[in-house]
Structures are given as C-alpha cells and as structure tokens.
C-alpha cells in the first residue's frame, strides 16, 4: 500500500461525504466529450464509478475512456436482463414450479440498479486504469425488441469473446463484430440462456430442496414445520 492512489482510496473510505476528484474527473471528461451521450453517472467516493450512456455513443465512450482517461485495461463486457423473472423472484417463490406452463402471469414492475435504466436489456462493460487503479463501469440501454450495439473491438480487441458471449447468452446483436458465432453453446442451440425468461430446466424437473432446509431463527415458532420438511425431501 505504498502508492499515493491507494492512500487516497483509504482516506476517502470513511463515511463522511468525501470528494473523489479522480473519479469525478472521469465523469467530467466523459460529459465533456460525449455531450448528450452521457445519460447518468454515479460516483461512490473512494470505491467505484458508474456511467450510463446512450446506445449510439457506446463505441465513442470506449474511445474516450481509452484515449482521454487512460483506461488502457479492458476488464469485461456483458449484459443484464432487467426483466423480473416470470418464474418468481426467489427460489422460494414456488410459482415457477406450479405455473410453469402459463408463464408470465403478471410480471412485477421492472426496476433498475445503479444509474437507473430505461429498457429491458442493458449493456455493461468495465475498463480499468492500470496506473491510477481506477475502474469504470459503463452501461447502455438497448432496444428491448431488437437489442443491438456497436462492437468495442476496434478500441479493445479483447472485447471479442465477451461480445460473442453476450450475443449467445442474451441475443444482443453486436454490430461490426467480425465473427459472431457461438462461443460456449453448440452451434444449433436455440434460445438465449441468460435471459430471465429462459427457464432453468433443472429447476423445473426437480424442486429446489434447499428452501425447506433453511433452519428457523432461534425463537421462531414455526421451526418444527421447516425441520420436518427438510427431512422429507
């Protein structure tokens, strides 16, 4: 812990609202160069920074981050499907097992995480500055019906496999990717497994026994019922 940057992090990890000039500067330069392309941003002082950009400025964001902000290191790229699972929120919501056929009962409202969101699919990528040791998470909302986004490969060649994975797992078309074929899945595979409406077949076949194994909190009255259920499964 000798470098000045980590000392800065340590100082700012207290609970008082501390400024984080290094991360604020990244947001500022993105706002400067992207203009309206920057939709939202959030700085968790001393820890992390998120930015949300428009789909059109997705590639431009990468260029700015690499060339202006010194983010030479490509960390990962993936996507998030914000749709609440039609098969229930938790595994203890057994609706996924009973009402498996008439799915999509009445989906709960979609909620988004840090920096918000607008559509079902969100692209997420992270780059890192290997000198100042600051990472940035970039997000972009994609069209829900036809999710497509520019490839990051011209800027970060390492995005290649990550984009192929996002393509097969979420069905996101990566515009400009030279070799958009399945990475993990067999070539004739149908469906996009990481989408929330893609059922996990193992759970359909056999209910998860774990939920009845949860021990009751001390003092809870209904502990016996849970125990019995655990032995029965």
């Amino acid at each position: 812990m000798s470098s000045p940057d980590t000392n800065l992090d340590e100082v700012s990890e207290g609970h008082e609202p501390v400024a984080d000039p290094a991360r604020d500067a990244i947001v500022a330069s993105l706002a400067d160069q992207l203009g309206d392309g920057l939709v939202a941003s959030e700085v968790l002082a001393g820890t992390d920074v998120w930015v949300r950009v428009t789909t059109d400025s997705w590639l431009a964001t990468a260029t700015v981050l690499r060339d202006t902000c010194g983010m030479a290191y490509f960390n990962f790229l993936s996507a998030i499907d914000w749709m609440p699972s039609p098969f229930g929120r938790d595994m203890d919501a057994q609706v996924d097992l009973v009402g498996a056929d008439e799915s999509q009962v009445d989906p709960e409202p979609m909620t988004w995480g840090v920096t918000g969101g607008a559509t079902r699919f969100q692209m997420i990528a992270r780059v890192h500055d290997p000198v100042c040791h600051i990472g940035v998470t970039v997000k972009a909302d994609l069209d829900a019906d036809d999710p497509r986004v520019d490839s990051w490969m011209p800027v970060y060649p390492g995005a290649d496999w990550h984009e192929r994975e996002a393509w097969e797992m979420f069905g996101i078309t990566i515009v400009g990717h030279p070799n958009l074929v399945n990475l993990y899945l067999p070539s004739q595979f149908e469906g996009n497994p990481l989408r929330k409406d893609y059922p996990l077949l193992a759970r359909r076949v056999k209910p998860w026994p774990g939920i009845v194994d949860v021990e009751a909190m001390p003092g809870d009255g209904d502990g016996d019922a849970a125990d019995e259920g655990g032995e029965g499964s």
Partner: protein
C-alpha cells in the same frame, strides 16, 4: 545445328512444362491441426484449431464450451451462501481464492466487514491456494517442454499445502469456507507451526525448480523470445496476473486493489519482468510463489485475536445495489459483478474470470508462431478450463 538447337529448345520447354506440372501436383496447401480437446497442454478440454502453413501457424481458433456449466445462470437461483459452493469449481486448483471476491462483493453490498482475525486467515488461505495452484504450473511447464521430473516434485509438494488447507477447511480442493462476514471456523491448534514448516518445503521446491528448469538450456531455448506480448496489447486484451506482469506492467491488485484483505499489513514485493515472453511469465510465477511464502510467514506471526465472524443475520438478504469486487487470484484478476434486488438470491452475477481473458489473446499471440511453440505459449499463459468456461 538447327536440329540441336531445336532439340534444346524443346527440352527446355518440356522441362518447364514438367516443372509446372510438378508444381501443380505438389501444390502446398494449408493444413488444419486439431489440438485437443484432449491434449496435455490444454488443462482440461480446450480445443485449439490451428491452421498451418508448414510449421507456421496462420490462424489459431480456440474452441471452448466443453465444460461450460452456466454458473451465472445457476447463481441466480441460489442464495448468497450457496453461491460459494458453485464458484469453488471455477478455478479448481486454487478454489478458496474463488470464494473471496464474491464474498467481498456481498459484504460491500451489506456493508459488513469481516473482523481482523478473519481477514488475516482469509489472506493466509488465499495465498496458500495461490501456492497450491502455481506450483502445479511450475511443474507442468516443464512437462510441456519435455522435462518430466518437475511435475512429480510439484504434485509431491502441493500435497503438503493441500493438507494445510484441509486441516482448516475440511476440504482439499473445495473448501467452501468463506462466509459473508467472516469465516466458518477458526484455525486449529498448532496449525501455524505446521504451516511454517510447509513453507520451508515450498521454498526448497522453488530452489529445485531453479536448478531443474530455469537454467536448463533447452528450457531457455524453448521459452526465451517465444510468444512475446507487448504490454499495451496485453492490456487491451485484458490479460492479468503474472501474464501481464511478465510484460512489465507493475500492477497487482493485492497491492493496488484496496479490498478487505490483509496484504497491506505485511511487507512484500510485486515482481515484474520486462520481456513479455514465455520465460518471463514462468519466471514471474516462480518469484510469486516465493513471495507468497513470505506473505504467509509474516501473516502467521501476527494473526490478531478475536472472533472470526461478524454479526450477520442468520438468513442473509443482501440489500439492493450493485458491486464489483476483483482480487488478484492465482490465475489473474478475478471479479464478480453482483446485482442484488434485496432478495435471498442475487439478481445477476457476472463472473469475470482470469483465464477467459488470458486465453482470448491466443489468436493474436499464436499467429506466426511455430507448432512446437504453440505448446510453450499455451503452457506459459496458464489457464484452467473451469476458469475459461465457468
């Protein structure tokens, strides 16, 4: 006279024609070599399709997915404490290290911090799994290049490390020991002394590797200047760990990450090598094993007293939010992007595993290499299939 010259001319034409015919018949064409999925250099089932022109690689295409287990999907239907059981299996040679970043991410979301004693023991186990993982690489690197002895030494000495891990966690390979808010249990009595003894063995192993492998002329010839990755290319491809430090980038999350491990409490050094070739990646790992021994030794001498578990609710619900935590795992940077919606189960877990990014550079680095060097390069990049396929 004219006859003779005519004959000469005809002979010349005939020779030309036959040359042309021979050239057509013996036309060289590219060959496709299928390396794997069951090749010793592939640590599992990585299949590399190599297009060759003679001995030279024109294009290499790694094919993954033979071991894809879909942990990101499975994590969405498991409670937070159950996820550690899954992620143990990602890098199966250094399993404990897989649990740590996930637990740290959950702890950040819950705003829980493990007590100092838990952090120290966590760091010791983290470094022990690094040793267990990397010494196998050191032995294996020799095997790939034709020296069979080192791998026996590696398996022999790894067992001592695994015994120590087992003594604490109960599992040689899959400890499942890390908990949100601390550790499952304390270390047993007399464990620190035993571990110090094991560290001595590991140091001896490193010296043996120096004797057997590092200075070996054949080894040097097979690795020096082979598979050179410049720093900026490695960064753009997301290389991490010893692979990027072997290219001269001074970046180690144990020092620079600032997450809740005890590495900043002890005195140690980040090793780099400027060459960026297979040898430098091997050499950096060798030094890192020694460094890990030093880290563990210092930590063992000063484990703080106190509990190993913070106060956390019995049934863990993680507040809504997003956190990305990465640590310097044996194979490189491993991180978890955890999205929580306040439920028992994570909403989405993106697993950023080190080998996936490390191996994504192979099409670039293998292009133009020679067939025997393919093995040397793949071995020196050091991947675990479970860490690629997840």
């Amino acid at each position: 006279m004219t006859d003779v010259s005519n004959r000469n001319q005809l002979a010349y034409i005939a020779a030309q024609a036959s040359d042309a015919r021979v050239n057509v018949e013996f036309e060289t064409e590219g060959m496709t070599l299928n390396l794997g999925p069951q090749h010793p250099a592939t640590h599992g089932t990585l299949r590399v399709i190599v297009k060759l022109d003679g001995e030279r690689v024109l294009r290499a295409d790694p094919m993954m997915g033979y071991m894809h287990r879909g942990y990101e999907k499975l994590a969405e239907v498991r409670t937070y404490p159950q996820v550690t059981t899954l992620v143990n299996r990602i890098d199966w040679l250094g399993s404990f290290a897989n649990e740590v970043p996930f637990i740290l991410a959950a702890e950040r979301l819950m705003e829980v911090e493990a007590p100092p004693r838990a952090q120290w023991i966590r760091t010791i186990l983290f470094e022990l799994s690094r040793i267990a993982n990397v010494i196998l690489f050191l032995g294996d690197m020799g095997v790939q290049l034709g020296a069979v002895t080192p791998v026996f030494f590696a398996f022999r000495d790894r067992e001592f490390v695994l015994n120590q891990i087992e003594a604490v966690t109960g599992g040689r390979f899959h400890p499942n020991f890390d908990r949100i808010g601390g550790l499952k249990d304390d270390i047993p009595k007399g464990w620190t002394e035993e571990t110090t003894g094991v560290l001595g063995r590991i140091r001896t192993f490193c010296d043996e590797m120096e004797d057997l492998v590092t200075g070996n002329e054949i080894f040097q010839a097979r690795t020096r200047g082979i598979g050179v990755i410049p720093a900026e290319v490695g960064l753009a491809y997301g290389l991490s760990g010893a692979n990027i430090r072997g290219s001269g980038v001074d970046w180690d999350l144990r020092r620079d990450g600032g997450v809740g491990l005890a590495h900043d409490q002890v005195d140690w050094k980040v090793w780099t090598h400027p060459d960026g070739d297979s040898f430098s990646r091997y050499w950096v790992r060798l030094q890192e094993v020694r460094e890990a021994c030093g880290i563990i030794e210092q930590l063992l001498g000063g484990i703080p007293s106190g509990p190993v578990m913070a106060k956390v609710p019995r049934i863990i619900k993680v507040p809504a939010g997003e956190a990305y935590v990465e640590t310097e795992n044996p194979l490189g940077v491993m991180g978890y992007y955890v999205v929580s919606k306040g439920d028992l189960v994570p909403f989405r877990v993106k697993i950023r595993s080190a080998s996936f990014s490390n191996i994504s550079i192979t099409p670039w680095v293998l292009e133009g290499a020679y067939v025997p060097d393919v093995v040397s390069i793949l071995a020196s990049l050091y991947f675990i299939l479970g860490d690629i396929d997840r």
